[in-house]
Symmetry: C3
Subunit: 330 residues, 3 copies
Amino acid sequence: MKNFFISCLRSAGQVFFQNSAWSGILLIAGIFWGSHQAGSTAPAWGALLALAVSTLTGRILHLPEDDGRQGLWGFNGILVGCAFPTFLDNSVWMWLALILCAALSTWVRTGLNNVMRTWRINSLTFPFVLTVWLFLLAAHSMHSLPSDSLPVPGEPAAFASAFDAGFMPLLRAWLCGISQVFLIDSPITGLIFIVALAVSSPRAAIWGAVGSAVALCMAILLRASASDITHGLYGFSPVLTAIALGAVFHRPSFGAAIWALLGCITTVFVQAAFDTALAPVGIPSLTAPFCIVTWLFLLPLVKFASDKAPDHSDWHRHGGRQGRHDRKER
Amino acid sequence: MKNFFISCLRSAGQVFFQNSAWSGILLIAGIFWGSHQAGSTAPAWGALLALAVSTLTGRILHLPEDDGRQGLWGFNGILVGCAFPTFLDNSVWMWLALILCAALSTWVRTGLNNVMRTWRINSLTFPFVLTVWLFLLAAHSMHSLPSDSLPVPGEPAAFASAFDAGFMPLLRAWLCGISQVFLIDSPITGLIFIVALAVSSPRAAIWGAVGSAVALCMAILLRASASDITHGLYGFSPVLTAIALGAVFHRPSFGAAIWALLGCITTVFVQAAFDTALAPVGIPSLTAPFCIVTWLFLLPLVKFASDKAPDHSDWHRHGGRQGRHDRKER
Amino acid sequence: MKNFFISCLRSAGQVFFQNSAWSGILLIAGIFWGSHQAGSTAPAWGALLALAVSTLTGRILHLPEDDGRQGLWGFNGILVGCAFPTFLDNSVWMWLALILCAALSTWVRTGLNNVMRTWRINSLTFPFVLTVWLFLLAAHSMHSLPSDSLPVPGEPAAFASAFDAGFMPLLRAWLCGISQVFLIDSPITGLIFIVALAVSSPRAAIWGAVGSAVALCMAILLRASASDITHGLYGFSPVLTAIALGAVFHRPSFGAAIWALLGCITTVFVQAAFDTALAPVGIPSLTAPFCIVTWLFLLPLVKFASDKAPDHSDWHRHGGRQGRHDRKER
């Protein structure tokens, strides 16, 4: 039972690649704070429920225990749990669909990892993206899953107005870029998330903060939609790309730092690309831009100064405390 | 010559994973009945033509003989042959395109199986889906291929009215869910198909019937489009998922039965998702929801009670009468 | 330094699978002529800049030297360089994005080749297609990258009028089908390109010319959009498919010739399909139809009369002068 709780908490941390229950507690606290501020704690309760469901699913299907211990069964699930109440109206069907989708995300991860291990990469948060996309698309066709918070399918929005770059709006957008990783729109939550990262890995915290700042600059310079910038929607994918490339899959070096910055900048373009590409079907990009850019930067297996032989199929190979548990997944 | 005919008949059966010429005869009879009732036997003649073309293609290209004997060259082709006259107007160009597409489906299957064997899964009916999608999309841009029966590209349809669940409408929708596997909208054909399945595998027949019933319940409860439900359009993909997971790729066990039901329910959501996702480009989902869900449920290589070591690249491994011919393709 | 120039020139030739600096010089001359005629040499300068950037990127990242020598670092880059000024307005941001995208195309190619080598195929020009798609989609969401030359996202265009098939329009459309490989709309450039091909491989030149002619006939017979036909937009992908299947990946034989013609005809349908499929998001198909059809025809590893054991992961295996350098890429 205690193992189960620790596994769930670590799952929250693994969204940011951190195998740490303390990070997880802080992240969940941040989710509660942010969703409370926004007027409904449903996303936070959804996160807890989905965390439990997806972690239990791993146990029931006898997926490799090591993954469970490191919180790898539930990190897609917690994102599923945040996403459903954010985009779908509160109803019995929404909660039942959330449970199915959270369970699904666990074995879809095992399946996609089986596929991607062929090229020594990891499915990252794509199981979350894929399964939630399918359910949100379905909600547009199913009257029992009202989707008033989803974008209306149609042509991409025209340019409205430029971002008004004062100090407070910039600070807000920068912190929300971090809080939006868990679909929370709150600067305070962004601060809590930076602390949660620093508890486990100061390097990851710095790269996360840098990633959000770089993305913010790029989005303003390229004059993306002001409202998207304000709510941090140009930040959360670059934040994850920056942490992945800067603090997880490569050891620190000058080359790796440039690589991470390039990845971060590329993610801003890919975020804008998904905003256009998904407009006709009325779904959000979720963390797809992060996944795609990180794959494009990991697949060539470029090796920097102090890197070991490149293998990006499991981030625990990269010297974390749990490094000894690696590569036992089927 | 006799071999050629048996190979063609088995191909019809293989759409439902049945290596049986008797099933094939009954299925083709059902197609003729249903298309005759609907006012045009063009889909039935298209099915026969495409069956011949795709099976010949396998022979001409010297693809592995074992596949041909088991009817694996033509099962995508027969679906191509049903789909073209259903969605495109009768014209010389339609029939020439049908011939090209049927031939294409044979070697696209070989190619996709070469890809998917890497992860021990099979391309299922996806060669049919991919090639027909390409030609139907093309029909929207080519004036010699009039496409009045295709959906008009545009925004997803709004919710019109709820399904009126009397006994006869339910019975009709349940049986049409089965007949629509071959794009036929006829309850009698649905009955013939159940018999065709029972001739070769009672277990498959039961799972097909259960799959259509479960999908019908889910689509009504989730309030999908009433007209789609009436015509069985929420049924045919879950029927195939139920047969694949319940009667083909796993041996009977309690766990495998739950797994098949979960797959069946998930397919209903994915069907609704594709209805939204394909609206802007004006093409039908075909059996894509079945393929995607079945892959997502097979890729993790979950093993139930009495299963052998999981390998889902070829359903003839799974103890059919032709089990000894397996894995000789390429 | 001399090596660097030769590498760049060969890169231009490699767009047509030719490892020849002389071809490259003629192709670049054709690009300058065509873009000068069209009123702006920006695409030609873009091509040169992108060629330098992508080739330098290969060197900086220490990608395999053999690839660089054969011009395989830069052939996606030169296409990126032609595409950006063609579809995006002249601005500082366009040029900076061009540089990032050209660099990206080099390592995306390495990554995609790592993936596709699993099934003995090559990524062809898909790194160009993928990276440019992402940036063009992004341009619709970013006000600093005005995209007045891009299609407006919306429903596929209705049929306007039939192609008027006189001798001069036919000649123009045939030659533009070849010049459009580098996104140039000029019959003279088409002629220069045929010469450029003949300098290195007369067989490739003949297949290129035949491919454009076959595509032209098919597009007229199937009554595709007249303006697309006039500007050669139905030609450039079939031209590349014809060269790939007819003159690169198979040795000459009757079977291989039929195979190449089938591929060429299929590409016309797939081009029409992409015109429909991409309309809602407002981007051009680029050479995606060529890539997809060529993969579908190479993946089954069909072997004709005089072919060696099929391996399509690198066209230099196929007896070119550089054949001895093959398969050293990681």
